[in-house]
């Protein structure tokens, strides 16, 4: 685009000079390209349609420093975040840096490679796909990640390989004296007929301000299956800007479930791109926010070929002065017939000061498709509250139970037992905290 001959440098532009050096040609190439793009791309603002509802002040008004100058505290007591199923299939990153001593990668069986991207730079798949799948137009966050990342999660499944355990990609962010920016990276390549479950977890260990910009590229080849759970439990003052993108080939399945609990400001932009016929994909989300949190999901489900089943249930509970934004784009290209696409955004407003903006956006250029969509914003149904009260529950308890029930639906499909339980506990903690704060409904 010709818009940026001279751009106003943002904090990300200013930090660009701290980009690390690399001797590796793959990394050098990505950095050169990213820097060039970053230098000609302006930081977004609210006059741009895609950012019209999103308050970017938490980023713009923070003086982020390079990670080395942030004065980070050590990460302690992190074992409690390890999920038992991934005892031997876990990658740990602290502020975006790979930590081998906490990681464990022996237990996945034949044909499964799991490790740090930087240690796998010679592999054909890394050279072929890294940074080539990510496709976000003029996106300073993707460019900044490309410029800065050194480590990252690499998951590769050979043809027919089935991962014997779920893989936990644990991203921890430490407390620090100054706000820093982390750039986690992930590449998943699932060859024909392979099968893997990935638990991607982002956890803030303190209550500090930091910004994390995870970029995740996923390639699901023919007849492969991926179950991808993404949990965002960043610090309450953090900024989380994520770009997970998946390409689905013929007869493949990709099911992703994103649970947003933490961060002051979240901007999540999941995308699924169909690359051939007969695919099945899910892009579900659960957002539980309170206080002054802002959680924004801009998703794309791009149907480019015939015969796709796609599903997006995005549920949001807003309390306090929190603000949820949802923009769900569903594209059905010309000649992409027999598409069965479902999208539903349901918002539960628990407080008078909460705010919800929702915009389902369907652009359909084929004529033989079934696309259902809906968006609702509501409070708890007084009739339901009365029903439970008439069975002896206090008003607070009734509201807690109903909020819990509302939120639970989205995590029912998370099939890793300990993660399912963990999410139930998180939902319970949220609803419990809310009933104790005696919000008005």
């Amino acid at each position: 685009m010709a818009l940026a001959t001279r751009i106003e440098p943002s904090i990300l532009h200013k930090l660009a000079k701290y980009a690390p050096e690399s001797e590796n040609s793959v990394w050098t190439e990505i950095r050169t390209k990213s820097l060039k793009e970053l230098n000609s791309t302006a930081f977004p603002h609210r006059k741009i349609e895609e950012w019209i509802f999103t308050d970017l002040r938490p980023i713009v008004r923070t003086d982020f420093v390079p990670l080395e100058e942030a004065g980070t505290f050590p990460a302690t007591d992190i074992e409690k975040y390890f999920i038992p199923e991934s005892d031997r299939s876990r990658l740990v990153f602290i502020n975006g840096k790979f930590h081998e001593k906490y990681s464990s990668i022996g237990g996945l069986g034949k044909g499964v490679t799991v490790g740090n991207l930087a240690d796998h730079s010679d592999e054909e798949e890394v050279q072929k796909y890294l940074n080539n799948l990510v496709n976000y137009e003029n996106d300073v966050f993707v460019q900044y990640n490309g410029l800065m990342f050194e480590d990252g999660a690499y998951i590769h499944l050979e043809k027919g390989a089935k991962a014997e355990a779920p893989i936990q990609v644990l991203n921890l962010y430490t407390d620090a004296k100054n706000p820093f920016v982390a750039t986690p990276r992930m590449l998943v390549v699932s060859e024909e007929e392979s099968d893997v479950t990935i638990i991607e977890d982002h956890i803030g260990l303190g209550e500090n301000r930091y910004m994390t910009i995870p970029v995740c590229e996923v390639k699901v080849k023919e007849r492969a299956h991926i179950h991808h759970v993404r949990i965002q439990r960043d610090s309450i003052d953090a900024i989380h800007v994520s770009r997970p993108i998946a390409y689905v080939e013929k007869n493949s399945e990709y099911h992703s479930y994103t649970i947003t609990l933490g961060a002051k400001l979240t901007r999540n932009e999941p995308r699924v791109i169909q690359e051939d016929e007969e695919v099945d994909f899910t892009l579900d989300g659960l957002v539980l926010i309170d206080g002054e949190q802002i959680a924004d999901t801009h998703s794309v489900m791009d149907h480019r070929f015939s015969h796709a089943d796609s599903h997006q249930l995005h549920k949001v509970v807003v309390n306090g002065k929190a603000h949820s934004i949802f923009n769900g784009k569903i594209f059905v290209r010309r000649d992409a017939q027999k598409i069965d696409s479902f999208q539903e955004n349901r918002n539960l407003l628990l407080s008078e000061d909460g705010l919800v903006n929702t915009k389902p956006q369907l652009e359909i250029f084929a004529d033989d498709v079934l696309c259902s969509h809906g968006a609702t914003i509501g409070q708890l149904d007084p009739e339901e509250v009365f029903y439970l009260q008439s069975r002896g529950m206090t008003e607070e308890k009734a509201k807690e139970v109903l909020t819990y029930a509302f939120a639970l639906e989205t995590i029912e499909n998370v099939k890793v037992e300990s993660v399912h339980k963990l999410l139930i506990d998180e939902v319970y903690r949220y609803t419990k905290a809310n009933s104790e704060s005696k919000v008005t409904v």
Binding site: P382, F386, L388, S390, G392, M393, T394, K397, V401
Partner: protein, 257 residues
């Protein structure tokens, strides 16, 4: 047990009077039937006794065991032994019948000085009650009323009544939507649950239910008032004559049909 005195009720904030001076006394061990055409205020009466927040009492009083319950929240009334079987039971996806009932049973038990049951004891307790309404134990693990047929929902209400053992049960059109077999099961359940120490108020459109549950008293409600009371033979008379012959007794209400 229940004394309703000159009760006037409006929809909260709308100033439309729905009940226009209802008087009703229900004693321990009795079964009362309240009949009447659509829009006569029968369901409102049941809801207001259970404490529905949508309605406002503008005049009169409701005494339960000699004390006014107007200031009590719905859960406090439930703790005191009041139970409402809903005309349209609410679906609560995500909460199983088992969870709801254990929560309800234990809070009510605690406030009435009964012993709480642990999950295993409660399980046994539930199984006996399930038989009463001929329901499959699988049903305990299903979400409350979610995806239930109309008949299942009504049976679930009676099942809850069986579990919670109320002293005053208000059954709001529990018979509607039931086929003849389900009606018999539900009616048998109610008959078995009813004893000397509790009272039942049946709200119904049709005389049909009263073939199975024999009321001690029948009241006809038209236009927000009880216009006629009698014994069980009144229900049969209504079945033959309809409500028209009584409407002249009522202060005119456009809704009465």
């Amino acid at each position: 047990m229940l004394e309703i005195k000159d009760l006037h009720v409006e929809v909260e904030g709308e100033g439309i009077e729905i009940l226009k001076g209802v008087n009703l006394t229900v004693n321990k061990g009795e079964i009362h039937a309240i009949m009447g055409p659509n829009g006569s205020g029968k369901s409102t009466l049941a809801k207001i006794v259970a404490g529905h927040p949508e309605y406002e009492v503008s005049k009169g009083d409701i005494l339960y065991n000699g004390e006014s319950i107007l200031e009590l929240d719905p859960d406090e009334r439930a703790h005191a032994g009041v139970f409402l079987a809903f005309q349209y039971p609410v679906e609560v996806p995500g909460v199983t019948n088992n969870t709801l009932l254990r929560e309800s049973y234990n809070t009510i038990a605690a406030s009435r000085g009964r012993e709480e049951l642990d999950p295993l004891e409660f399980d046994d307790y539930l199984r006996d009650k399930l038989e009463l309404v001929d329901m499959n134990p699988d049903f305990l693990e299903r979400s409350v009323n979610a995806g239930f047929s109309g008949g299942e929902k009504k049976r679930n209400e009676i099942f809850q009544m069986a579990v919670l053992e109320p002293t005053l049960s208000l059954l709001d059109e529990t018979d509607s939507g039931l086929d003849i077999d389900a009606l018999r099961i539900v009616a048998d359940g109610i008959n078995k649950l009813h004893g000397e120490d509790d009272a039942v108020v049946l709200i119904t459109h049709y005389q049909r239910l009263l073939n199975y549950i024999v009321p001690d008293h029948v009241h006809v409600m038209i236009g927000g008032k009880i216009v006629k009371s009698g014994g069980k033979e009144l229900a049969i008379e209504l079945e033959e004559k309809g409500y028209d012959w009584l409407e002249t007794h009522a202060t005119v209400n456009g809704e009465a049909k």
